[in-house]
């Protein structure tokens, strides 16, 4: 498979469970078994160099867990992540781990919580440079930090300021500058604009696109906002209860959604134009992930569910150029 066009990121059957059992004594007294929450359950996808894959889904579908698995914040329970041909989690644990971390960086959702309020911008953005021993010299580091700030539309005069002196959008740009400090190839963005107002969101999304064009960055973009996803991504993966239910090119997915859940999500978005059009109301809610339904986990909410859906779990299978996990397709 190692041709010239090996995807930068290859995720194979990735899974992660969390032990959410009651404490040992309580469990023993009540004779309860251990309880495992399968946050991510067998997810596979690939991201080509310089492209953006978006993962969408509702709260609790496991999209943020995938992001954390990719940057090595969690080890996987099963499956593997290959980055540029090497096994990411084996590398993280080994002597080359630090090198790999330079190449993969993350942007978090909340720009208020992800910046240390007691540090100046210079210290925040310069930390990765210091930590990885890239630019030990202070004056040179300051020069590089100013350059990074300029690349996200801030100025060198902001070096000595503290996070509270910035607005939400500016703070998120500081996060982006910090993530870019080690000149990474792959950025994992977990809801980078969800905490921002729309006009500010537009500024941040534009900067992210510009940076991608200039530096050939590869993005994994996690969001619950389908309109934003449509704007930034090349490919979209739709997740439901820890599994991918549909994976397709952005244009194809929005023009012709195949999985009933994808269709439901698209239908649920309030439309700005021609409002007043009656939408098909969405039925039901996401079930408890501790006790997911049998078969296809979407079947209790699915208008097309059959007996087969209740018994047999559909695999993610290729279908007309996309991949979809549904018996009805």
């Amino acid at each position: 498979m190692s041709t010239a066009s090996t995807p930068l990121v290859q995720v194979q059957d990735l899974a992660r469970s969390f032990d959410v059992s009651a404490p040992w004594l309580q469990r023993t007294l009540a004779r309860q078994p251990r309880q495992l929450l399968k946050a991510v359950d067998g997810v596979s996808f690939e991201i080509e160099r310089g492209k953006t894959l978006a993962l969408v889904g509702e709260s609790g579908c496991g999209k943020s867990t995938v992001a954390r698995l990719l940057v090595g914040l969690y080890p996987p329970s099963r499956g593997s992540v290959r980055f540029d041909g090497m096994d990411a989690h084996a590398t993280y644990a080994g002597p080359e781990g630090l090198k790999l971390r330079q190449r993969i960086q993350m942007i978090f959702q909340d720009p208020y919580a992800s910046l240390n309020p007691r540090w100046t911008v210079e210290a925040i953005v310069g930390e990765p440079l210091l930590e990885h021993g890239l630019i030990p010299d202070r004056a040179a580091r300051r020069e590089r930090v100013s350059e990074l700030l300029r690349s996200v539309g801030l100025s060198a005069q902001d070096l000595g300021k503290y996070p509270h002196q910035f607005s939400g959008g500016q703070r998120q740009r500081i996060s982006i500058a910090r993530a870019l400090a080690t000149a990474p190839e792959f950025l994992v963005c977990d809801e980078p604009t969800s905490a921002l107002d729309v006009s500010v969101q537009a500024q941040v999304l534009n900067i992210m696109k510009d940076l991608q064009r200039e530096r050939g960055l590869t993005y994994l973009f996690i969001s619950h906002n389908l309109a934003v996803v449509r704007h930034v991504s090349d490919q979209v993966g739709v997740m439901y209860l820890g599994r991918l239910v549909e994976l397709a090119d952005t244009e194809t997915l929005f023009a012709n959604p195949r999985h009933p859940y994808t269709r439901m999500l698209l239908d649920a978005i309030p439309k700005m134009r021609d409002s007043g059009r009656a939408r098909t109301p969405v039925q039901g809610e996401v079930p408890n992930p501790l006790n997911p339904p049998s078969g296809c986990t979407f079947h209790p909410r699915c208008p097309q569910a059959t007996d087969r859906c209740r018994q047999e779990r559909p695999e993610l299978r290729p279908f007309m150029g996309i991949r979809v996990a549904c018996h009805a397709v």
């Binding site: 006009s199 439309k271 700005m272």
Partner: protein, 325 residues
């Protein structure tokens, strides 16, 4: 058309050591019975504060410095806490963003509902319980007769927001102030809650002030929309007009910056800069430093709301049409 709620030149100030911050500056609007008015704007524009002023829950040291709030022609901005408590719940219902914090975790939802009903309506406890079950049914909670004895933590987020809506409707209020009622919910649940809110309010003829930053929610739900910027009203008008033909440059920028499902653009339009802080609001029009069409007059003189096509906008570009409202 007699307005149910009239807000007249409302000014809310926060005195602090270094002076007084004017958080709401000369806000005026009406809501007719049965009408849904949307209020949009970015964080800090003063949307929630407007709602808090109307329901009499301004946090000290915030205070109404001038202006009037009238409910069915009676002033309610000067009432004391006791009198206001009679109006809140009975004539004005409130729905807040986070359904978990607006319900008491120690009481069953039935107890919270019956308590509200008994406080405002002349009913026996048994009648109140009947009514509570009906309300839960109306808001789409399955098996309401059993669910009424459950605690808030036994409900999911969407179901909890239904309970909160039932609670707001408990005493048949004429006006409901809903502050970001769907922001904490997933899109699929959001659609259900918006539909519900619209239906129950139209059924009962209750007027709604819907505060949100989500233009899509406004487009789906509201009859009219008010756009706020830096504590002032930038534009107000019928929802379709404001979305299709925004008159104020800020509204135009806001609309263009929203990623759209139907049209694909390489770059989103963006409004450069950010909203001014309350202690540094520029003279003249508050939007003038970011406005691509600003002229000398915008920097000197503050525009009032004036007629601009079908809407009214606080912008000198529309001064030609003249009639100050």
């Amino acid at each position: 058309m007699t307005a149910l709620l009239q807000v007249r030149n409302l000014v809310v100030e926060f005195p602090n050591r270094r002076g007084t911050l004017r958080a709401l500056d000369d806000i005026s609007f009406d809501i007719a019975p049965g009408e849904i008015l949307g209020v949009v704007g970015e964080s800090g524009a003063g949307k929630s504060l407007t709602g808090a002023a109307i329901i009499g829950l301004l946090e000290p040291p915030g205070r109404i410095a001038s202006g009037q709030i009238l409910l069915q022609g009676e002033r309610i901005d000067q009432l004391n806490a006791d009198q206001m408590r009679h109006i809140r719940g009975k004539r004005i219902g409130a729905i807040f963003q986070d359904p978990l914090t607006s319900l008491n975790p120690l009481y069953t939802v039935g107890r919270q509902l019956t308590e509200t009903i008994l406080a405002h309506l002349p009913m026996t406890p048994a009648q109140a319980r009947e009514r509570a079950i009906e309300l839960l049914q109306d808001t789409g909670i399955p098996a309401a007769a059993q669910r009424i004895d459950h605690y808030p933590h036994q409900f999911s987020g969407g179901m909890r927001q239904r309970v909160v809506i039932a609670l707001a409707l408990a005493a048949e209020p004429q006006l409901i102030v809903a502050d970001e009622p769907t922001t904490a919910l997933d899109v699929s649940i959001q659609a259900q809650i918006i539909g519900l809110l619209r239906r129950v309010c139209k059924d009962r003829g209750a007027a709604v002030m819907l505060i949100t930053h989500d233009m899509g929610v406004i487009a789906e739900t509201c009859d009219r929309v008010a756009v706020m910027y830096a504590g002032r009203l930038a534009e107000i008008g019928p929802v379709h007009e404001v979305i299709q033909r925004p008159a104020h440059p800020y509204t135009q920028g806001l609309m263009a910056s929203i990623p759209d499902m139907d049209t694909q653009r390489e770059r989103l339009a963006q409004i450069d800069g950010s909203m001014p802080r309350l202690n540094a609001i520029p003279t003249g029009c508050a939007f003038n430093p970011r406005c691509p069409q600003a002229v000398a007059r915008c920097r000197e003189e503050r525009p009032e709301l004036m007629r601009a096509g079908q809407t009214r906008a606080a912008c000198w570009l529309h001064a030609a049409q003249g009639v100050s409202a």
